[in-house]
Amino acid sequence: MTKPTRRGYDGIVVAAPTTIPYERYSIHGAQRWIGQALAAALKRAGLRPADLDGFCCSSFSLGLDTAIGLTQHFGISPRWLDHIPMGGASAIVALRRAARAVQAGDADIVACVAGDTNHPDSFRQQLTGFSRFSTDAVYPYGAGGPNMSFALLTDAYMRTYGATREDFGRICVSQRTNALSTPHALMKRPLTMAQYLAARPIADPVALFDCVMPCAGAEAFLVMRDDTARALNLPSARLLSTIERHNAFAADPIQLRGGWAVDRDELYGMAGVAPADIDLLETYDDYPVIVMMQFEDLGFCAKGEGPAFVRAHDLTARGDFPHNTSGGQLSVGQAGAAGGHLGLVEAIRQLTGETLGAKVADAKVAMASGFGMINYDRGLCSGAAILGVDG
């Protein structure tokens, strides 16, 4: 039996890229951040809440609420509803589900929203109860949080492939350059390689500028048919292809590759493009080692050649390989689950000409990727999407 070909996303577009400017700490609940993003996205599209018939939410800090509680809180009555607890992969997963719902006619307009609040002790509280495996087998071991987990992955990656701290520094420094023109970026000062290398160590070899700053914020976008977007006079980008994979390479003793490597041929094949056709890439950048893995596993260079790749390319928005063009989480901040939406929202902005900061010249095809959920020793979720605009 031959595997049937996946159906394309003909006629499905994404629009209304929305960001509620981040704050380091907020006295408000996640409900407010998510509601603000939903309101802003609807306003951008000229829609009333009653026009919305699909809603998809991601958050870590809603307490006992999920998407269903938010329908009453926000006064919306969707006929399609989803809640996606996959952290940094949530945006890609939300996009995939929403696109199929719209394509099938189960909904006409789906708002995909992610948002989190951040109080001074919320990061620690979230760590203590993140997952069963982390409560049993990670948190009691120094309570280093994701810094420890990614320090181990970074250590193994450096030893296996010869990456240096400078190689990771290239990613962080170029993202900071991109962030300087992003109005809502929390990191507003330039970062030099010397400053990167001299930074305070956090969990060796991870140092301060390898880590994201947890903050409050929200991101949103709308999924609809192209004729709906035209009727709303709304700039939009076509969804060309997507992939999603969970718990890939479970037998690897430590994570040196992610699930993208399983599915990337399908990603490019479905979109009918090659890596060289990608005008800008928005990776999930909780730590630079994960960015380097995405360069490799998404096919921009061979496995283990990430260090050489970053040495050979200018990763800024105006460089030859525009990457994380708004500054990414490393420079804008990590607003919880919204961190997974940041890159996808920025990719939409670049394609629809709605950029807030640095603009990639003549961008026609963009890729956004997601990565999430260090349940125990590795990120379990991976996903990616290719978007395009005509012209």
């Binding site: 087998a137 309570a143 181990l152 250590d155 070899p205 125990y376």
Partner: protein, 400 residues
Amino acid sequence: MIPPKRKNPLLRTRAALQPPAARSRTALGITAAAARGGFALQVCAACQAVQYPPREICGTCLHDGLAWRAVPPEGTLIAATTIRVTADPYFRERTPWRTGMVAMDAGPAVIAHLPAGVAQGDRVRLAQKLDRAGQGAMVALPLAQPGDLLDDPMMREMTCDPKDRRVLVTDGRHAVGQDVARAMLAAGARVWLGVAETWRPFAAVEGAETIELDLTDADSVHRCAASHGGRLEIVVNTGLHTRPGGILERGDLTTARVEMEAAYFGPMRLAQAIGPALRARAADGTHPACAWVNVLSVYALANLPSWGAYSASQSAALSLSQALRADLRPIRVVNALIGPLDDEWHQAVPPPKLAPAALASAIVKALRDGVEEVAVGDVAQDILARFRDDPKILERELAS
């Protein structure tokens, strides 16, 4: 040997915090193994896959039969980090703290605490140790263990080495107390040996300082607590009042009351008097207070009717120790379970019998290993094995 420096009394006293204690019930299998000095992981009954982290369902074949088994603890350290910033107050006081990822020969990848000196690429042996929250934790040790391993700051958190610690042994009138005092001195401890009614003749132990202590006398206990309570790191409660006799043959409660005083009320009195100070100093300085040791009859687990009232007093003492374990944490409560001693009260009992000196060295070893429970001698080990197999069967066996 250079003794550790005295703590500067002007420095702030480090609070007796505990590392994160939350675990799933399943993960307490590691705590149970660590408490007994074993090493166990879940093994699938259907496909034999070794599991970690602890699971409810096999991660290889979805079978639900996962039993805790001894598995080969060797592996290779494939990544390591030194944590310098942490969210947890306990670890914040102890950074830099090393952890690493061990690829076990048996299959799983394990995040473990690391002592200084083990490096990426090294072959290691995983051990399960109790941390200061009294929870089991994975520790990766070098295959060839250096002699000073117990001096490593991480290992000091997991163990209770008597070296350079101040130890109170409660009953210097008994051979067990005397031999425990000698063993502690040999292990590098400073020892105070309690003796009741010091005006009566007693055999002093060379090197140990005799102090007046009678656990049945509240005034005596409070005097001891006032003079020594703030400078003890280990307490060994060796109070044994071992008398044969079933319930009916004794005819009255006189002996039973004395047994309960020795086994239950006396240690409770001592715990109430010095326990709070001991616990408050559980993180103070380089050699903080760390352990409370009880010597208990293994018949605390199941009554031996020919020593029926004595067994009951030991059950009370065992239950007291479990309460103290929770109350005194992060102080570790260690129970040494024993069978008949080779002493004057067991002349009619056939061998094997436990020599007090053997018990004393087993207590020192239990402290160094960091365990909570140790059965000392053949009889105690035999009874404990039968108890774990089936307590009801053991009850009937002992009643024949």
